[in-house]
């Protein structure tokens, strides 16, 4: 080779030396491994078994939710539960893995007095974390728990454990407000706001449980224990005590909440006895009621009918109950209609609309407009609710008292014409209604609040763009010359236009206007409160377990109605006369109410949502001179506002002022005015 012998031999020598060195090291490794794994192996096995770490999680008790005077609406109690390891018993398809698992499930069914299918269903429930034993039965008797503990050989993969569960001392009371808790889902675990949650943790799913999750939750404790193979604790490596969640004191008045719930339900049920002109009974399918503190915006009572039982959610809701709640046939009891129900506000919107026409300058608060029986527009007749009667000249105050539709039609059309002729139309109604709290969320401390809608040109255009294809297709499908054909080809071509008819309908809270009962309540509270719009809220303060107040939730002014003192005064006068004078649309419902002692102001509303029976509204406040409460009631398909909603408001007010307590109250329907 080319390498000279000297270099080659020296290199080879060196390589050999290196090889010998490395081989020596490997021999050392061999020896070491032999020593560790074979000779000293037993000793290390022993040490390994005795020196193991175990992490013990101590759940922090969740904070309670209390009424304003400290009564618990929801608290915790320990419950004995029988849980089973899903992965040890079921395969991926939800069937028992083997005959042994099948027998365990059968024994469980016998012990818990359940059907085998029920046990299987609960065990396989997808709302449960696969990493923790799945509770099969919560609240079992100690005997059942002992049976599982003592006959381990009969119940492999089954444990009895004590779980902290939510307890509702008042049952279904304020169920929509409290909300419920459930196990965190896999998707939620991936979101940044749940970074410090682990699979199987409970999390607020709705209501206050959800909106005050961070305060109520507390901090889980964690101990890292050094234990031996039998589980005996040898040492504590680290220890973090659980921190109990803080309590939420709400503004809810327990007595008033009870009364409101009862009076709404009684009213809805009683109104179903009322026969309408066409001979049908009023459906009164559902409804909601809100009582606000007129000075602070605090919610004293709020309810939605029908309701659900939060106790069914303790330890995991059954599929059967959940299906029941989700079925539209049952009017969706999980929905809190007071904040999530969207309805045309109908005549309760006339305050906002009246203020808009004054601001637009098409009328002054005291100038009058004829309350004609009908308003003609382009071949369409827009009638006043009071069919065929000319009620004469009216100012804003009278128009509210009599809920005169044509007054608002006339002004809305005048303003519409101005807007049409302007280069850049100033859509006054949208602007003013937003100051009155319509079309925007109120910011209440509950999840799921709807924002409603005050439509205008932009909305109409967007809606047309989204639906144009459908309109045009319908126009093609309809037989030529038919009404449908004309309607749809018109919509197909000109549907983007905001027409006079749209403006006229919006002015009385119909057409495409939508609002929640809470928006109506916030709006009337601002009127009662001389102009300041407050953020409605349920939370009053957060209190640590030791009683120190961590946070006060103060009333918050979120806006101003922005109307002149005169306008406000005229509106208040009109609302006052609605109840206080015989001409007022709401007066019939308040017959027998001591109005001279406690003067009441309010507004009836009857929202059309054809082909359904109208939705009944009443928004009122009392006493007029120094308003304490604002009460709003909505009854879906409850007929006239004066007929169904106003009497319920009357009863709630009577209870609040101690005139007739809820238990003695009777629902007396008012006159059927479909304003």
């Amino acid at each position: 080779m080319a390498i000279p012998p000297s270099e080659s031999s020296s290199s080879v020598l060196r390589l050999t030396f290196l090889a010998v060195m490395v081989i020596t090291l490997f021999v050392a490794l061999f020896a070491r491994l032999w020593f560790l794994q074979v000779m000293a192996g037993d000793r290390y096995v022993e040490l390994a078994d005795s020196n193991r770490l175990r992490t013990v999680i101590t759940e922090a008790p969740r904070g309670e939710i209390l009424t304003s005077d400290g009564e618990a609406l929801v608290r915790n109690r320990p419950a004995l539960a029988i849980s089973a390891d899903r992965q040890a018993l079921l395969d991926a398809a939800g069937a028992p893995v083997d005959e042994e698992a099948e027998r365990v499930i059968e024994r469980l069914a016998v012990l818990l007095e359940l059907e085998v299918d029920e046990v299987l269903e609960r065990l396989a429930s997808q709302r449960r974390s696969p990493f923790r034993p799945v509770p099969i039965a919560v609240d079992v008797t100690p005997e059942v728990a002992f049976a599982v503990q003592e006959r381990r050989e009969l119940f492999p993969a089954v444990v009895s454990e004590t779980l902290p569960v939510r307890e509702y001392p008042h049952g279904t009371l304020a169920a929509h407000l409290i909300g419920y808790i459930g196990e965190i889902s896999q998707q939620e675990l991936l979101r940044p706001e749940f970074a410090d949650y682990r699979a199987g943790d409970l999390v607020g799913r709705s209501g206050l449980e959800q909106s005050y999750e961070a305060d109520l939750r507390g901090v889980t404790g964690q101990r890292r224990l050094v234990v031996n193979a039998r589980g005996d604790v040898l040492d504590v490596q680290s220890d973090r005590e659980p921190v109990q969640g803080a309590d939420l004191v709400t503004s809810l008045d327990l007595d008033l909440q009870l009364a409101t719930e009862q009076l709404l339900e009684d009213g809805i049920l009683a109104s179903r006895e009322i026969r309408r002109d066409d001979g049908q009974l009023l459906p009164s399918t559902a409804g909601s009621a809100i009582v606000l503190d007129a000075r602070t915006g605090a919610i004293l009572a709020m309810t939605s009918y029908p309701t659900y039982d939060p106790r069914e959610f303790v330890g995991g809701v059954t599929q059967e109950y959940f299906d029941l709640l989700a079925d539209p046939e049952n009017e969706r009891p999980l929905v809190n209609r007071a904040i999530s129900g969207l309805y045309p506000p109908g005549s309760v919107f006339k305050t906002a609309s009246g203020a808009a026409w004054v601001e637009a300058g098409v009328v002054t608060p005291r100038s009058t407009v004829e309350c004609a029986p009908a308003f003609e527009l382009g071949g369409n007749t827009f009638r006043n609710w009071n069919r065929g009667v000319n009620e004469g000249m009216m100012d804003l105050s009278d128009a509210l008292t009599r809920s005169c539709d044509t007054y608002f039609y006339e002004l809305a059309f005048d303003q519409w014409l101005r807007e049409e002729n302007a280069d850049e139309p100033d859509e006054v109604l949208i602007r003013v209604a937003e100051r009155f709290g319509f079309g925007v969320t109120t910011g209440i401390d509950l999840p799921g609040e709807a924002s409603g809608r005050v439509p205008g040109r932009q909305w109409r255009f967007d809606y047309w763009v989204a639906n144009r294809d459908n309109y045009c297709r319908q126009a093609d499908l309809a037989s030529p010359g038919s009404y449908a054909s004309e309607l749809y080809s018109d919509l197909c071509q000109f549907g983007a236009a905001w027409r006079g008819g749209d403006a006229v309908n919006s002015s009385i809270g119909q057409g495409d206007v939508l609002s929640t009962p809470l928006q109506v309540a916030a709006s009337y509270q601002a009127i009662a409160n001389d102009g300041g719009l407050l953020r409605p809220h349920l939370g009053a303060r957060i209190v640590a377990p030791d009683g120190t107040v961590l946070r006060e939730i103060e009333p918050e002014v979120v806006g101003e109605l922005g109307v002149s003192d005169q306008t406000l005064q005229v509106m208040q006068e009109g609302l006052e006369r609605v109840v206080m004078t015989d001409r007022g649309t709401g007066s019939s419902a308040f017959r027998g109410f001591p109005l001279d002692e406690i003067p009441v102001a309010g507004k009836t509303g009857t929202a059309e949502l054809r082909p359904k029976v109208p939705y009944a509204w009443f928004a009122g406040y009392a006493p007029i001179d120094d308003p304490e409460i604002v009460v709003v009631v909505n009854v879906e398909q409850g007929g006239g506002g004066s007929q169904t909603a106003a009497p319920i408001v009357r009863n709630i007010m009577a209870h609040y002022f101690g005139i007739v307590l809820a238990e003695d109250a009777e629902f007396e329907a008012g006159e059927e005015i479909l304003d």
Binding site: M1, A2, I3, P4, S6, E7, S10, S11, V12, R14, L15, L18, A19, V22, I23, L25, F26, A28, L29, F30, R32, L33, W34, L36, Q37, V38, A40, G41, D42, R43, Y44, V45, L47, A48, N51, R52, L53, L190, V226, D235, Q237
Partner: protein, 412 residues
Amino acid sequence: MSIDEAPRRQRERPEGTEAPPGGRWARVRARWQPGPWNADATALTVLTLLLLLLGLVMSFSASFVPAAEAGDPFAVFRRQVGWAAIGMVAFVTAARLDHRIWRGLAWPLLLVAMIGLALLLVPGVGETRYGSTRWIGIGPLSIQPSELAKLAALLWLADVLERKRPRNGLPHTTEHLLIPALPLLVLLAALVLAQPDLGTTILLAMIVSAVLWVEGLPGRIVATALVLGGLAVAALAVVAPYRIARIRGWLWPERYPLEEGFQLLQSRYALGSGGTFGLGLGSSRGKWHFIPNADTDFIFAVIGEELGLVGALLVVALFSALLYVGLKVSYAATDGFGRPVSLAVTVWIVGQALVNIGTVTGLLPITGVTLPLVSVGGSSLVSTLLALGILVAIARRPTPATSGAAARGGHP
């Protein structure tokens, strides 16, 4: 000489006369034709594949516990398989090219490695884990420049020494050996120690010493360097409190069972639990958060626990076999570039394995060195496979005895 030069000339100038068919790759292949495949190349390939396979199986077994808790039990494994695929491409490519192609690539590689190491010093560029900034994140990947540095350093040094080889066929003078080697080692060591990464620094010193040793550096100088190096390591250990703690934990793990000694003790429990035949694949208890870094630096403990003494010895035997074949290739290397490179690659991979297994079994203090081809870690896997590919190319001994001529005739 003239006889030897003829084939090389042919190989060097094909472009102008007859461009081979195919693209650039084909031209590169034609120019850098490797020697014929032989038994050594087969042995190296088989050993590499066996270790890689064992590594993939064990990397899944050791990583699925924390990976499953983070949401996907296969997350670490899948990434490792991806890296292994990239590494195999590097291995196959290197094995199919004359290893002397790396002479020209040594400079750029070293430059890239240095830039990478220097970037780690810029605050905010590197990723810091366990108190050490060793990784650069590029998109979803984390790359460890020091892994490239090891390969680049040995290639560069071998290339420089080959160029400086005396024409008279005598061995290098001591100055000739030390002048390129020492500054390189000092510079790299400084950059790597700044991360800080003592384990890799020691490996770099081992690699450089191995090259110098085989090139004929006098024994007394090597001995002096080893003593000085030992003192330097001791000094480094004393100045950093965490290193003293590590030494304490190494010498008396049972005295600090939950602090410094924790990792070592847990690793001993794991190895001891494994016994002769192991608890069975997948059954390690240590990997359930007891052994820190169970899928990287301490994967050997999991192997020992699941596969027992038999499995642990198998790993040692595979690396021993690699050592044997590597040294054989080095003995037989026909050129002055291939010999030091093959030796340095062998010393590096086997030495790193020795240090790692020594650490896990408690023979050496913990330095944070991975088990080559087996531990989870992307850049380490790719650079190790690339180095082994080069080793295979050297084993193929392309066109015998051109090295001396080429070296003495100057570098192309």
